[in-house]
Symmetry: D2
Subunit: 140 residues, 4 copies
């Protein structure tokens, strides 16, 4: 497997398909075996107490795995999440960005299967872990 | 099992603990075996094309199961999601509210386990299905 | 949707593709919206104390959802499990058969998505609940 | 965190609590951040074609994560699986043992959360991946 998109190309692509949220996410690094994405935490991502909400963590997991898959298959906007199983393990640190590391474990003809690990930036122990499956459009 | 909160009590409680999002959700009905919640779909919940985003559906699943659990244990703000496995099965209909039906399958001393089904309002076939586990604070 | 196989046809099919295990399972009823399967609990399914093991419950969930899918698509032996998320909620009753109720929530062109509920026979409260996804061979 | 059991101690413990299956499994290595377990594949683990069945892979995932948790908390037989979400990604190689690598991501007071990766021995690409949660008895 090899990369079919650069960070710059994916960033432009996300702006186009997700104009409402692309400012929240920054692709930090891109490799065949690991993609790293930062979520720039905004007030609307927070719960009382200043920690990141579950749906915001889900969004980070989902976008990161989308990026990891696109990096390997090229810009296929119709690639969609079919399953996500997420374990919330620790409370995120207050008022810190979150970092997500995503890896593709199996890239098939119609499915991309892998997982992601979420961290509060600068803290070693993971906050959440998720397995994701994306469906890839058949006629590419 | 019996209900420990009314719709009015839960609505007030959600306003207090989730001031940023409580306007999005409306508890429609409450019973021991099923809770129904509407998400009033707003522009910020949408993807291009007018369909509800995955993270917004996750938020609806999560809030609905939270309500279903609180209805049985009373107002325990510290009750937190530990796991959610969600299957996205169909594209939501554009520009429609979403309806979520939640049921608690096992209410233990420290865990609440159950599932939710998500629908575009007025359409019979479900859009998504999720299993959730919540951790209940031990010293209640 | 309509049924494409009868109980007798599925029973013969299971004998052919799963000769090692087919004696353990009995398809009790078959309908478009629900399939019911019994696991005839044997010593090898048990843990000390006489309760059914987790892998045996997984096997029941898996076979039952396979039957529910085949009933709708016909005999496709290559249909394979791609994901199963299972919640174990209660200890099964000792020395009782188990009953599994399976329903298909979305039958797509390449994926079958649904869930199953497992019971100790004669007891109302469910023992386990699982979501399953099966991949369907494309060239049928 | 540090190890509370040796390979020898865990092996003896498994013989005692799982007399029916302990011969199938061999703990190969034990460390705080990774436990490796071999499943000695027997005829009863196979499907026609000689590949390992889904329930047998589930059993390997489950036992391996049990070992990983016990290694950190000591011999607590009542530790039970509450959730497992497993992705089957590739067909196992025929007539090969399977290897499972397990890691604990969060060891809490009442829950152990982590994941496992399953391989056909000698083959680099993983066959299956699972997230597991175990409930730990409170009064230890």
């Amino acid at each position: 497997m090899e990369l079919k998109m650069t960070i710059a190309e994916i960033t432009v692509f996300l702006e186009k398909v997700f104009p409402q949220i692309d400012k929240d996410f920054e692709v930090i690094s891109l490799a065949v075996d690991e993609v790293v994405v930062r979520m720039r935490v905004q007030d609307r991502h927070l719960r009382p107490g200043g920690t990141v909400s579950g749906p915001s963590m889900f969004a980070l997991a989902d976008v990161s795995y989308y990026v990891a898959t696109l990096a390997l298959i090229g810009p296929e906007a119709l690639t969609v999440t079919t399953n996500c199983s997420i374990d919330f393990m620790r409370k995120p640190a207050a008022h810190r960005d979150m970092i997500c590391k995503a890896r593709v474990l199996k890239l098939g003809r119609t499915l991309s299967v892998g997982d992601v690990m979420l961290y509060s930036e600068g803290i070693e122990e993971p906050v959440a872990h998720a397995n994701l499956t994306y469906s890839i459009p058949p006629n590419r």
